[in-house]
């Protein structure tokens, strides 16, 4: 099994300034595309993020939101 591999990168590592710039671009995009609350969740560390998503999904389901997808035989 070829786990945890990604293609080797020939690029120089991102500088701290580039990292900051990408983080800002990412944050701005998430706020614009998903809303501020979801952006905040997306920027949490993995464990907290999964817990927040679980809480959000379970809350929606408990209020009757149907998150099931139809079985179509072919998936987009």
């Amino acid at each position: 099994m070829n786990n945890d591999v990604s293609p080797p990168s020939d690029l120089p590592p991102l500088t701290p300034a580039q990292k900051r710039q990408w983080r800002k671009i990412e944050w701005d995009f998430h706020v614009r595309a998903f809303g501020e609350e979801m952006a905040r969740i997306n920027f949490l560390p993995l464990k907290k993020r999964k817990a927040a998503v679980a809480e959000m999904i379970d809350h929606a389901r408990s209020k009757g939101v149907d998150l099931s997808r139809p079985a179509l035989g072919v998936t987009p």
């Binding site: 099994m1 070829n2 786990n3 945890d4 591999v5 990604s6 293609p7 990168s9 690029l11 590592p13 991102l14 580039q18 990292k19 710039q21 990408w22 983080r23 671009i25 990412e26 995009f29 998430h30 595309a33 998903f34 979801m38 969740i41 997306n42 920027f43 993995l46 993020r49 999964k50 817990a51 927040a52 998503v53 679980a54 959000m56 999904i57 379970d58 929606a60 389901r61 408990s62 149907d66 998150l67 099931s68 997808r69 079985a71 179509l72 035989g73 072919v74 998936t75 987009p76």
Partner: protein, 305 residues
């Protein structure tokens, strides 16, 4: 209601067990997006499974209980989980009839729109960001923000393929200004040349690309839906509403599929023809000058036969 955390653990355990048995497989779509930091509201799971290991994975699914319940195929519409049909791009649907909602699992053998073998790049239990982003180029508007978000994640991880997934003109311009894309990437996505040149047509070209991908997916789905009808009708006649174990249901589906289900509707239609169909529809919706900036699309049928 089964809490999401329990469902996620259940599907992760299933994939881990499969990998432990030597079955290359990976969680993709919504659950993978959540893992990668782009929250999606899904409770069902999509898994990519190596085509040649379809039988092994089906046997594992058949013996895996969720809250004491064994699974089955979902409705009469699901194609069999078998290498012949998985290789042709079909998806198999499974369900555990938990209450009040069923818990569902979709299995792909081939990643739709994949330009490289998904098996070459697996991150633990998950397909790579690149694979997930390509799979998200659907005809559903709701999927597109996820592609862009995954593209940014790739670039943050110093993976230049992120440029292939940015559909936000500003972010794309910024990305290519920092690291000019290699020639293979410019060929794969011609609109990157506009980004490099700071051409003001970039945003329109990106819009044309999204129209193209929407149409390509819609044309693809049409082929599968048409091919599915006689099979569903045959399965419905034999199974009706009878409850039966997964193994028995599988045998019936195999018999029906052998007679009524084309293994690969896209291959029969022709990959080039499918791309031409999508381009034709796109040409009626975007300015003619933008057509030259569309991707050719032909390299996005990897593994499909």
């Amino acid at each position: 209601m089964i809490p999401y955390a329990e469902l996620e653990k259940f599907f992760c355990d299933l994939v881990a067990k499969a990998q432990g048995r030597g079955i290359p497989c990976a969680i993709t779509s919504g659950m993978a997006c959540v893992h990668f930091g782009v929250a999606a509201t899904t409770k069902d799971c999509d898994v990519l499974c190596n085509v040649e290991k379809s039988d092994d994975f089906r046997e594992l699914i058949a013996e895996t209980k969720l809250r004491g319940l064994l699974p089955n195929y979902r409705g009469n519409i699901s194609p069999p989980l078998d290498a012949r049909w998985m290789r042709g791009g079909w998806t198999s649907h499974f369900t555990w009839k938990t209450a009040p909602e069923e818990s569902c699992l979709d299995i792909f053998g081939i990643a739709p729109r994949g330009s490289s073998a998904w098996e070459d790049e697996i991150f633990g239990l998950y397909a790579s960001r690149h694979t997930v982003a390509e799979m998200k180029r659907t005809n559903r508007d709701k999927d597109w923000p996820y592609i862009n978000a995954l593209g940014i994640k790739l670039l943050k991880a110093n993976d230049l393929r992120g440029c292939l997934h940015l559909y936000d003109a500003d972010a794309l311009s910024n990305a290519v200004a920092t690291n000019p894309p290699p020639s293979w990437m410019l060929e794969a996505r011609p609109s990157l040349r506009l980004a490099l040149a700071g051409d003001e047509r970039l945003a329109d070209a990106i819009h044309a690309e999204t129209v193209f991908w929407h149409r390509l997916d819609a044309c693809r789905i049409q082929l599968y839906e048409r091919a599915l009808r006689p099979y569903v009708s045959a399965v419905r006649k034999v199974i009706a509403r009878r409850a039966m174990p997964l193994a028995e249901s599988h045998e019936i589906r195999m018999q029906c599929a052998e007679r009524h289900l084309l293994p690969s509707p896209v291959a029969v239609h022709g990959f080039a023809q499918l791309v031409a169909d999508a381009r034709e529809v796109t040409s009626r919706r975007v300015h003619p000058d933008l057509m030259e900036w569309l991707p050719n699309g032909l390299s996005h049928f990897i593994g499909l036969s």
